[in-house]
Symmetry: C2
Subunit: 356 residues, 2 copies
Amino acid sequence: MEKWRIAARRLLTPRILLAHGGGGRETSDVIEKLVKALVPKELWKVEGGSGLDLLDDSATIPVGGKTIAVTIDSYTVDPIIFPGGDLGVLAASGTINDLLMAGAKPIAALDAVVAEEGLETETLARILDSMIKTFALNGVAIIGGDFKVVPKGNVDKMIITTAGIGVILKPIRDNNIKDGDKIIVSGYLGDHGAAILSARKAFGLNLEVKSDVKPLTDLMIPLIEKYGDYIHAAGDPTRGGLAMLLNDWASKNGVVIAIDETQVPVREEVRKYSEVLGIDPLSLASEGVAVLAVDKDVAGEVLDFMIKKGYENAKIIGEAKMPRDPRHKGIVISRTIVGGFRLIEPPSGEIVPRIC
Amino acid sequence: MEKWRIAARRLLTPRILLAHGGGGRETSDVIEKLVKALVPKELWKVEGGSGLDLLDDSATIPVGGKTIAVTIDSYTVDPIIFPGGDLGVLAASGTINDLLMAGAKPIAALDAVVAEEGLETETLARILDSMIKTFALNGVAIIGGDFKVVPKGNVDKMIITTAGIGVILKPIRDNNIKDGDKIIVSGYLGDHGAAILSARKAFGLNLEVKSDVKPLTDLMIPLIEKYGDYIHAAGDPTRGGLAMLLNDWASKNGVVIAIDETQVPVREEVRKYSEVLGIDPLSLASEGVAVLAVDKDVAGEVLDFMIKKGYENAKIIGEAKMPRDPRHKGIVISRTIVGGFRLIEPPSGEIVPRIC
């Protein structure tokens, strides 16, 4: 039987579901069981760099004594203009943040736009302008792109795919977490997911919260320059939220990550909104938040530094531990707000589709 | 008034048309009047590299004494499996060829897939496998990607956006054409466009022609290594075909390009099919053909080299001339098959939408 047929069967569903694109467990399945199964292992990365072996925010390639970081993402959000942002700023911020989280300084981007026939020219121009302004404010050149149009009814108004290129200042690879590392978040979690849900008037409920979408250049570049050696992992909790990111780190590093939910910054209204919708706020996407695993000896200093940089809601929310019992490797647990503990599992199901 | 509103008005149509994505005159409008108007000129490229200033097949960035080439394209073809190929081989070949045409050796790729909910898992696996195999056979690592799913009816089954990274062996910039340069094509033109049209049973006509989609690594790498100094421009005539590519070169270089249609290799059945459909075969896309502008002194030798490499239908089809009358700059003319001359204009209108 053909290799691709075998790979397809391992996914267990004869058709692709929305959940496969949700950024949770099912997306990991697509990557692990389809993509990684089909790519020969020697082509998972360029010699000396990283790629499918690490599945970090960016891949890396050594070039002429330096290392470049490269990332790609397709952005499709409904609605394309939402409280606090739009598809353009989302695409640019996502690309910039993926480079920063790998320890890279973003230098250039390329964008491929697929528009639906009949899209208002002004909407296209406005979204492109948002994207371009966001890149420009962060010193990122826009060096190329593509533009395609598909017949009406074939695309959700507009899909932007952006590729970003950066130069590594200090490599941050997410498989480098040490026993005792503190987990720091840079601000309120879940605002983006909540804002999108609310903009769709999910369940008729309205919420006065804006997306947190923004590039983290002003925070991450000074952090990498000053504390690069002590940042053992960095990520932005987009699709699948903090829950997905911490589970990913726990399994990549074979550690237990223990957090304290009373310390996790979530806006009261977002928490209540999630409760009503029956969604774990830790699974909601953020688009302008950094999560760091930092050496315990400097974690307090790093937190102060972040607060001084204007990230006044930054918090140490927990730590990573090397478990004595190997069965505990890869687990994320949390002290809950009402007391007691709960297991934080990788989110699965649709969560919030078309969110980024 | 906002800059984006002004830019939108310069496009003259209140809504985006299929023609804007056709790769012809209207696509140039989107790039020139929207994108380039909105991106600050100092961000059209990275210092020392190239980007929106040249709009070549790839952008370039100097890194640590070397130069990397980067390209992005979204691929959406209907049907996604067609005679001679599928969306996967198309995406990989397009990416590889865009790097080669800039004088780069392709080394790595990233892919972002947007699938429609309900897509057969086997179709997804088969298309991914095609893409991966094509990259693998050409030594290109697949170092990262993204996977999203949109609700049914929102996307044409599947869109693949690929970014490619290469290392420049010998920069080929398409604004380097010299007086007297010969124009060489590596094989039959328009097979891809004709095959897609036929697969859609346009006008109920069936044609026994396969897409020419393939990476040109085996041709271009030896050519660049041996004749890099003499290749003054290189391109693959995809959307908009040879007509678009030559017009692009003529206007970029301020030359007249004169070709002889009796020398342009087009299969008899493709020519007849185009005639019936009222399409200029020179506007039909090819996905596995190189077009080169080569120094006149070595053009014959280069042609022989190409034929020896297995490209037995390669032909010298014309030449570039510096016109004495500046009003003739940027013009493409052709001797026609029936005798006499005609102006080859940049194609406009829908041509063949969703072709690549």
